[in-house]
Symmetry: C2
Subunit: 533 residues, 2 copies
Amino acid sequence: MGANWVPGRWGTKREVEISDPRTRAFARQHLGEPKASSQPALRGVQPSGFVDRDIDRLFPSIQVSVDDEERARHSRGMSYLDYLVWRSDLVIDAPDAVLFPSDHEQVLQILRVCSKEGIVVVPVGGGTSVTGAITADWQAAASIVISTRYLNQVFDVDVESGIAHVGSGVTGPQLESHIADVGWTLGHFPQSWEQASIGGFIAARSSGQSSSGYGRIEDMLLGARVATPVGTWDVGGFAAASSGPDLRHLVLGSEGSLGVVTSAHLRLRPRPSIREYAAAVLPGDFDRAIKVLRHLAQSSMRPTVVRASDSAETEALLTMSMPGGLAGSAFSAYLRFRSALPGSLLIVGWEGTRAADVAAARAHAREVLAGAVWLGGGPGRSWERGRFHGPHLRDALMDEGYLVETFETVTRWSNVDALHASVRRAAFEALGDGSYVMAHISHTYDTGASLYFTVLAGGWSDPMASTARWLAAKAQITDAIVAGGGAVSHHHGVGRDHRAWLPQQVGPIGMNVLGSVKSSVDPSGVMNPGALL
Amino acid sequence: MGANWVPGRWGTKREVEISDPRTRAFARQHLGEPKASSQPALRGVQPSGFVDRDIDRLFPSIQVSVDDEERARHSRGMSYLDYLVWRSDLVIDAPDAVLFPSDHEQVLQILRVCSKEGIVVVPVGGGTSVTGAITADWQAAASIVISTRYLNQVFDVDVESGIAHVGSGVTGPQLESHIADVGWTLGHFPQSWEQASIGGFIAARSSGQSSSGYGRIEDMLLGARVATPVGTWDVGGFAAASSGPDLRHLVLGSEGSLGVVTSAHLRLRPRPSIREYAAAVLPGDFDRAIKVLRHLAQSSMRPTVVRASDSAETEALLTMSMPGGLAGSAFSAYLRFRSALPGSLLIVGWEGTRAADVAAARAHAREVLAGAVWLGGGPGRSWERGRFHGPHLRDALMDEGYLVETFETVTRWSNVDALHASVRRAAFEALGDGSYVMAHISHTYDTGASLYFTVLAGGWSDPMASTARWLAAKAQITDAIVAGGGAVSHHHGVGRDHRAWLPQQVGPIGMNVLGSVKSSVDPSGVMNPGALL
């Protein structure tokens, strides 16, 4: 959670707004007239249940804040529902205190106390969860947030093995800038990259935009140190091993329910000196793009970045500056290549350290993507520049009263087209007239692919009514995802918002196993109760 | 466990023996004179504790055998220690019965009964464990083996998604022959491939000789169905997901301690039409080879197979037909290229479906491997032909009274050379004069590599004395592995032989977590007690 926090907005960045008249026209055409929403603000905070002598008694020598703003900013994540709260008249419910431990031992000390006293603990890194993973029921019990802000050391970089040992509070940009000098990259660029922390990546089992080339966070996590209420738990440590079950995979995706990840050993990759991103339109329906992406994913030379938008998203991206959009350069491309529409906008990127390798991969992709109309490098570079801008545009759209949210899933290749169609239908049915549903594939695997949906709907200025509307729609949509053979989540996580659907995916024995693991390391049940389990 | 079982031997294959006079000379030179050992045989079996009416009462409608030979052959794995038992005068201890369920429901039924009655259950697939994973203490309690022999259906191949749904008893060759027709391969070729089963691969978290190209079994396992004493447990199902912790990784490496894997969904890869394997000698010490392999592993174009032998193994492979050896064609290469010695024998293989891709990968590797003396395609093909022959040669060497065993580990790149040296020293100290210790790297990752050791020692014909000798040596060696920063196992597993060292790697909280997971699915503790935990 960066220093430039403002309530109910992704950040202070102002350059991405609905300033482009084409974007405004697109929104009006599809969503209706804007209805000015109340601005997000910190209107009031429930008082802390702690008084100074509690703090002195419970957490001597730990940096603690009971300041209203500090508690409020650590009270919730960055989902559409979280954001609506800041636009409402509600008094913000918040943890009783925010603690800023400076090392692993202090985290252990805090957890021992909280476990003994029955104080709920929610670990917060960048605070960018979009699944309610850090939006606890703060009124239910005495509660604190552990901020990993000062667990932000880069302890060591083993440049021979390509392993960085870092504190869990290190953010994406902090890590990249530190290891750039020694020629490495983590290669993990989720849209939350600018603000999210390493610990958050691990806890939410995240996946970045370059996952086709660099893999997911679980492919990068060599080992993690976890502070739990019962002590220090080190998992992993080896590139691969057959020393029994791999307990890294219990920590990955644990969402603070087992403990606090305090540091991690991360696999690095040589920093690419060559980075090329190209855009193309593949004429035809989405199924054609799915087939082409499948061939690319099942081949031996995958691009680093692969993304394909359905025809609705393609239209949006080519005509306005949307999340991941191409803005001006794309619009001129659109004018030149509109004969290729309806079609799928593709973004394909190659990164590497050797020109010959990149050239071979590019030649391979161009051959597999035969039939695509290439738009030149301009739109590719636009995508790169705008790759973290989506959430800022959401701020701007919410200012005009529009509903804007995303959700995502993953399924096997043979089911991608059918799932896309059924979820799209469910979203339309749930949101009704004046909604716009679009999707893309941005993570591909040998056996399947992600589906990432963005929904827009318009004309609601009342935050409470919008909350009720989205809760109902989200339930219908998630039902459709699970019924259609999709995972509860591909990379956002479970949190509180998807919790009701997890048992359908994991089954009763799996839920019991998860419960037994939790009981083993968190016998008092103080770790982020309500998230995941 | 195939139909052509013979007691105490890997198989009936006879073509690989110490028939080559160079091999015999090498063994005599380094290990001393052979001492004719007793031949392995089934000399006697402890009687079953079950009588017919027990069987009828406990397991109606299940195929059950209490036959002495059937019980004996399912009583132990294929480690050196297991094999010595067959050469001793011991009466073989064995399970009370071997059950052959025909489907998942029958396995569930068996487990319910055994859990209720406190009957120990050991699941056995190919029976090729080399860590004592299936060598239970059969005298300790009533016990059965569940053979997965008839869980050998290929249920479905999703040719679009590249996913095979198979029974856990399917062996490597059975699967490959089934999916070859539709253009796919699993790409998993551990040395046990000819006999081991899919369920065994999963339970032991195995890794094959082509892991650099195709990954490990955990990279291939999309999902598994597990029969547990408390019911059916389905794990996974998606290429990747962030729906909480990934419970596949509890089943992978669980070694029968949680339940019986009855079927799996496996990721396939396009079957390569091009397969090239080349051999080279890289002059210099092992550290030079380590550096070169590291560069290859950290590059964007990895070969499918990468292997590098230390100088001791290089000498052995080039002069005699050893496990993974090159026999005749290599010897002539040796004569031509011995100026490159001492050095490291490299095997590098490329597989693919497109000539241009393979050519690009080959060109890349040749550039990274600058300085290597290439031996031509003959030795590469020899390696491919002999890649599953190692265990047969062990049979032959044991016939001459030699000790022959392997062990393995994994560590980060910056520690590979030091760990190789310290483990090699420990093995020499443990085995004394007349021993030969050699090693290779055959699995490489971004951050580290495996080390696979073969030890030979000679001149002991008494199986019981040999057992005591190896137990003591193995303990010293494993101490050195763990002290030197290596994993307890890279791909053989933990079983009973490595169990004492697991807590050092996993820690007390990790062990508690594993215990809580086991209690959750196996509350009576009947599943393979003593293995892993």
